[in-house]
Symmetry: C2
């Protein structure tokens, strides 16, 4: 049974604080092992990667077979059904269209002092995308990571996807091809992250690594951070649904279960202003759990981390939502747009009862890589911005330097940085001399 | 003596690779101490912060005196000279004007399927800014961190600045007031970062922490990351100057020294297409080092990490610049704009001989918090974006769900996520029923 909370109850604050602070994930400490793997790949390159792949994935590779050939990709892709292909193509087109709108503009202007200022965006030269192997090998995640990189203008995009026992998901290769990925390596784990970050004889190093992975991958990403850029380290998935009684309890139950089925550590929360509706949704969840394929996982998630919160009104719902700062937020209420202006801390908002969160996982257009564990208070989902960086530009004329240089000299003096002041002063002396 | 490299020399590649990979900073491992301090502040709150401040800063505080009162700030500020005040005000105005232009736009559109998509930016609710105490207490850094936060719309901005033996820099307090900072605490070190991240009885927790600090502060920021957002962990400062022979060697020498005087680990590099000019600059550096106040620091930096690189032409200079990916890049050449389009990996570019880097440290307008240690390949300087986050928005109509829902169902099936598919399918069934 999930917890039932009611804001009218005197112990609500305590119970809600417990819900907020519940630790849902115990990452095993694999840091020492990962440090060894990274050191091994740095010192022995391909040889280390090949040995580790034989050991962990039971797959014998050579420098020549580290990457899939174009022919191998084409052959694998040919096995994809027309329905799957058409769906992936629709998803890719919609994700591309959304992310193209995110491209920021360069700016340049001359101000009243005569100084020309601005900034210019440029793409990361090379990026690496980690794709988990086996069951968690999601083609949709390939699209969500690779398309923003290519829209941003990344010239070289490499994927690392482990293929345990040689098994590969053809949909992952199709997603990579649809996204314009340049290289696909059949390697995984910390050794793949090390190879992407530091390079080997066969694999050129990249500047940025994104994509989800297990504890080894996450630890490796933390360790190579600084040498390369990384995306966020994602935690278990979460959904918060705010729904009034004008909804079908079964629809809302399915929305809650579509997070719960990801992972036993996932969290699904319903906030409603109608206690009867809350009970009806909980009943509908139980009913669906009887037959759901992934009922063991979804049931454990709902039992351990699920919650139904009864509020007095939607203002209260919005306030709680901002404290939760959910990864996914569904607003199934009469006026979802109005409510969305109050729920400002959320990774992605799905408005109205015809927008189940699963639409956003696949074909909506916005990215499904989103901040978890309350980090939507201070961070955003993946976007083209993650593959761009900004260079600021300044150009002084002699007049501009005369106008603002003396203030810089003064501040340099007050910070006891003499050469800073002299670098301005020497120029002013000539200009004024 | 700094190293002299020449791209025409057969051993250039080896020497340049050594220069790129030189480790300039040995951070002491203070992680264990920092972990204890954070745990102490989390469990004992104000009492721990007060004890640690007495121990490290020799300052006895109470919960009531943790923060400066408005009156104390006003009194301290009254001691600032008119010249200093006017310079800080000019800097604040220019930094604000620049950063106001960075504010990104919300977007919303309806596509051909009838889906309404978009995103909305919102500010982090509360941010904390760390300001080092003592010698490295730079009022300019207060402006550079605090103004973007306030421009972004951060409601509550708190500063932590240690005041060893009660000593405070009035210019720091003035910079805080000019920037609109809401709270100023006289605490520092890991205990200040812990207090900002987790809160105490007196200090409310924040969502994001920025600002430079020593090894303890950096280790504490790494540890609280995830609980709150942090900015980059900055390394020692760097400048790369690309200059042709049409420059005054003394000006360029002063620009190189204005980084070198920051820190013995700072790095200053000159790239020029004229060997004679390169030697003239090196001589000018030596001459200035005879009298510079911070000659011990600047001299050590220039001796240990300085470099003069002779190139055949400016194309070669640009290519090397992109491999260095400098924090600061000065282009003192006849056509700096043309060259700037080739030097795409840099934190900040200063164009032309009348734009010494020091202008950007204080009054230019762009931020002086910039990516170091080659991280300009994948990251950007501080901006309003660091205090904003983006929430994506999706709203399906029944028609839109009919149009794109089946593809989502198909992809959910192929990823074996049944509830995902059902959450779409149940709605389509009603709509099509």
């Amino acid at each position: 049974m999930p917890v039932f909370l009611d804001t009218a109850s005197p112990d609500f604050e305590t119970a809600f604080a417990d819900l907020l602070s519940a630790k849902r994930e115990d990452s095993p400490d694999v840091d020492a092992v990962v440090a060894e793997i990274i050191a091994d790949v740095r010192s022995r390159g391909d040889a280390a990667v090949i040995e580790l792949t034989a050991k962990f994935d039971r797959l014998e590779l050579t420098p020549d077979t580290l990457a899939f050939s174009a022919e191998e990709v084409t052959q694998a892709i040919a096995t994809v059904s027309d329905e799957d292909r058409a769906s992936l193509e629709l998803a890719a087109a919609r994700i591309r269209a959304y992310h193209e709108r995110q491209m920021p503009q360069d700016q340049e202007w001359t101000d009243e002092s005569g100084a020309t200022l601005g900034w210019r965006w440029s793409a990361v030269s090379a990026a690496g995308l980690y794709v988990p192997g086996g069951l968690a090998s999601y083609p949709s995640s390939v699209l969500m990571n690779a398309i923003p990189a290519k829209v941003a203008g990344v010239e070289r995009l490499a994927i690392a996807v482990p293929t345990p026992d040689g098994q590969v998901n053809p949909l992952v290769l199709l997603a990579a091809r649809l996204s314009g990925v340049d290289e696909i390596y059949r390697i995984g784990g910390a050794q793949a992250i090390a190879a992407l970050a530091y390079g080997t004889e066969t694999i050129a190093p990249v500047d940025k690594i994104t994509g989800p992975g297990n504890a080894f991958v996450a630890a490796a990403k933390r360790r190579v951070f600084g040498k390369v850029g990384i995306d966020m380290i994602a935690g278990p998935s979460e959904i918060l649904v705010i729904a009034d009684k004008e909804n079908d309890p079964d629809w809302i139950a399915l929305d809650l279960l579509s997070q719960a089925e990801h992972d036993e550590s996932a969290q699904s929360i319903l906030i409603t202003d109608d206690a009867g509706f809350g009970r009806a949704v909980a009943e509908a969840v139980d009913k669906r759990l009887e037959t759901l394929e992934r009922r063991a996982i979804a049931g454990a998630s709902w039992r351990d981390y699920g919650a139904v919160i009864i509020v007095r009104d939607l203002d209260e719902a919005a306030a709680l939502s901002n404290r939760i700062a959910p990864e996914h937020l569904e607003l199934c209420v009469v006026d979802p747009v109005a409510l969305s202006h109050q729920t400002i801390h959320a990774g992605a908002i799905f408005l109205g009862q015809y927008t189940p969160e699963a639409i956003g996982d696949y074909v909506g257009g916005p990215n499904h890589v989103l901040p978890t564990a309350r980090s939507a208070r201070f961070s955003s989902g993946l976007s083209v911005m993650d593959f761009l960086k900004r260079t600021t530009l300044s150009r002084m004329t002699p007049e501009a330097l005369r106008a603002i240089g003396p203030a810089a000299e003064q501040l340099a003096r007050s910070e006891s940085l003499e050469a800073h002041g002299l670098s301005v002063g020497a120029r002013l002396k000539r200009l004024n001399g």
